[in-house]
């Protein structure tokens, strides 16, 4: 609807007329948006407005959801990632996804990070170890777990688990990270830790984050996209820089939403 005012080579995703439906139910209708490289694009909007569906399309995880049907175009470097011949697994290697609920595998901490590396063909053990160390350091978990890498990942606290999941996505050196309400299952202290982590990651990675928390969107987001639901189907109302959306929204709905006047 309202493309961001940027030149094309600074754009990571170029989404055009994206429509998502589950069976006969329309979940997202005709979304067009450009998402800039680096920085955090925060997606806000009420529950059920298709934010998570949108996120899942960006790394084509949508195809794993039974009954989910996607149409439209999403381009990365001028290539349509929704095309059937596009290799979705290599796409997901470049675009990590962090879930709302931390979901480390019920294995050891080390194994959680090792699994994607080994499966993607890294064979040298020293390289694996150094990558693990680097990524754990990057998410600030290294000092907390370096003595118990073989402990079960599920023995970590919620915030630690979520940071482990972020580390697990980072070991593959992705270009972008998708985050689906990454802090909503965490307590305030862990939330603060993860938020500052996101902030530091946003310097090097393109991050798209769904959030219900407007203050979080304002704090972290460089760009903000506002989704709304009309007639049961989600749609994009307005997108722009964080400053613009929060301070001078063009759309009346946006204004009322950021002021907390509609639930």
């Amino acid at each position: 609807m309202a493309p961001l005012d940027v030149t094309s080579d600074s754009i990571f995703w170029r989404v055009n007329d994206l429509t998502v439906s589950y069976g006969k139910a329309l979940a997202l209708s005709s979304v067009s948006i450009d998402i800039r490289k680096t920085g955090v694009t925060a997606i806000i909007g009420p529950s059920g407005c298709g934010k998570s569906s949108f996120l899942c399309c960006l790394n084509r995880l949508s195809e794993m959801i039974p009954g989910c049907c996607v149409s439209g175009r999403i381009e990365i470097q001028r290539e349509n990632i929704l095309a059937t011949r596009f290799d979705s697994t290599s796409l997901r290697r470049r675009v990590g996804l962090i879930f709302q609920k931390p979901n480390p595998f019920p294995m050891s901490i080390r194994r959680n990070l090792e699994l994607p590396l080994r499966e993607h063909g890294m064979r040298d053990s020293r390289e694996v170890d150094s990558t693990i160390t680097r990524c754990l350091t990057e998410v600030g978990l290294w000092s907390e777990v370096k003595d118990r890498l073989d402990a079960p990942a599920l023995s970590l606290s919620g915030g630690q688990q979520q940071r482990l999941c972020i580390a697990r996505a980072l070991v593959l050196k992705p270009d972008a990270l998708l985050m689906d309400e990454p802090c909503s299952a965490l307590d305030p202290v862990s939330t603060a830790v993860v938020e500052s982590l996101i902030q530091s990651l946003s310097k090097n990675y393109t991050i798209v984050m769904v959030t219900h928390n407007l203050r979080q969107a304002r704090r972290l987001g460089s760009d903000v996209a506002f989704f709304w639901m009309r007639d049961g189907a989600g749609m994009l109302i307005e997108a722009g820089s964080s400053d613009q959306i929060f301070n001078s929204p063009r759309h009346e709905l946006t204004q009322r939403y950021v002021l907390g006047q509609v639930a």
Binding site: D87, T89, S90, R93, H120, G121, M122, L172, K173
Partner: protein
């Protein structure tokens, strides 16, 4: 860090898909194979004797060209019905007891006991029936090996199945139905039998039908205690032979037409159990729609 795409991965996927597809196909075709083999083996009997004679012949004397399965069909039905009549009420009341009456510890112990029994091999029931039950019944009315002995042994065997399924069906009825009934001032008995039971009855029926199928198909335990005389029994103390016992007793030495007619009775058993299975399915489905309809 982009790793090169790997063609091996595609191969692994194809391999996995192929092997799981073919495994599924093979597993599904076992039923077809079993029916085909049994039908093929029984063809001579169907052709030369015919199904009608198998039902109408007076008795079973393969060596004198008499192939009547009717006494054994009746035997199977009688043994099964009697076993269900004995087992089902005991099992259902036991399930009610466990769900609504038993103190926690006692209920737990009782459940363990029932689960233990569900795992006892049928030949053990047969052995016990033969060495304990049959001599006891023989003291009342010889020969002991009888319709009654077979039904009692079968009742013991299927009781755990019905009990466990009934208890699950009772536990599936939302507890607030029970509480609401008690809040209306109904007694525990009224709440259980008038409010909870109607919702659980289809589950209990499904369990009972499973029990029927198991009882009708059970072979060894029945063969050991039923006496195996081919006749229409005139009392519960009379010996009977069931279809399955007939097969077990004679298939080892039967040849030619005799063997084929035993396979034909096996075919009849398959048809009977598939019919029972379809009934159970239908009941289970009706229960589902009932639930959904009310939700």
């Amino acid at each position: 860090m982009y790793y090169p795409p790997r063609s091996k991965d595609w191969l692994a996927h194809k391999l996995l898909l192929f092997s799981s597809r073919s495994a599924a196909a093979v597993s599904a075709s076992v039923l077809v194979l079993a029916i085909a083999v049994v039908t093929l083996e029984s063809l001579p009997a169907i052709r030369d004797i015919g199904l009608w004679r198998m039902l109408s012949d007076e008795s079973w004397h393969p060596s004198s060209d008499s192939f009547g399965l009717a006494p054994m069909l009746l035997g199977t039905v009688l043994v099964t019905v009697l076993a269900i009549v004995i087992a089902a009420p005991l099992a259902v009341v036991s399930a009610v007891f466990r769900q609504f009456y038993a103190p926690r510890a006692l209920g737990g112990i009782y459940r363990r006991l029932i689960e233990l029994l569900a795992g006892i091999p049928s030949v053990v029931f047969g052995l016990w029936g033969l060495t304990v039950l049959v001599p006891l019944i023989s003291r009342i009315e010889p020969p002991g090996a009888s319709l009654l002995a077979a039904s009692l042994v079968l009742a013991l065997m299927i009781l755990p199945t019905i009990e466990l399924i009934s208890a699950t069906a009772l536990a599936d009825v939302p507890h607030h139905h029970y509480l609401a009934a008690r809040a209306l001032g109904l007694s525990r008995e009224q709440a259980v039998w008038k409010v909870v039971m109607p919702s659980a009855v289809s589950g209990i029926c499904a369990g009972t039908i499973l029990g029927v199928a198991r009882a009708a198909g059970e072979t060894m335990a029945v063969m050991m205690v039923a006496g195996n005389v081919v006749q229409f029994p005139d009392s519960v103390f009379a010996p009977v032979r069931t279809l399955s016992a007939n097969i077990a007793l004679e298939v080892a030495y039967a040849v030619d037409l005799h063997r084929a007619s035993l396979f034909a009775s096996g075919l009849i058993m398959i048809i009977m159990t598939l019919f029972a299975f379809c009934c159970a399915e239908a009941i289970a489905h009706s229960r589902k729609s009932y639930r959904v309809g009310r939700a």
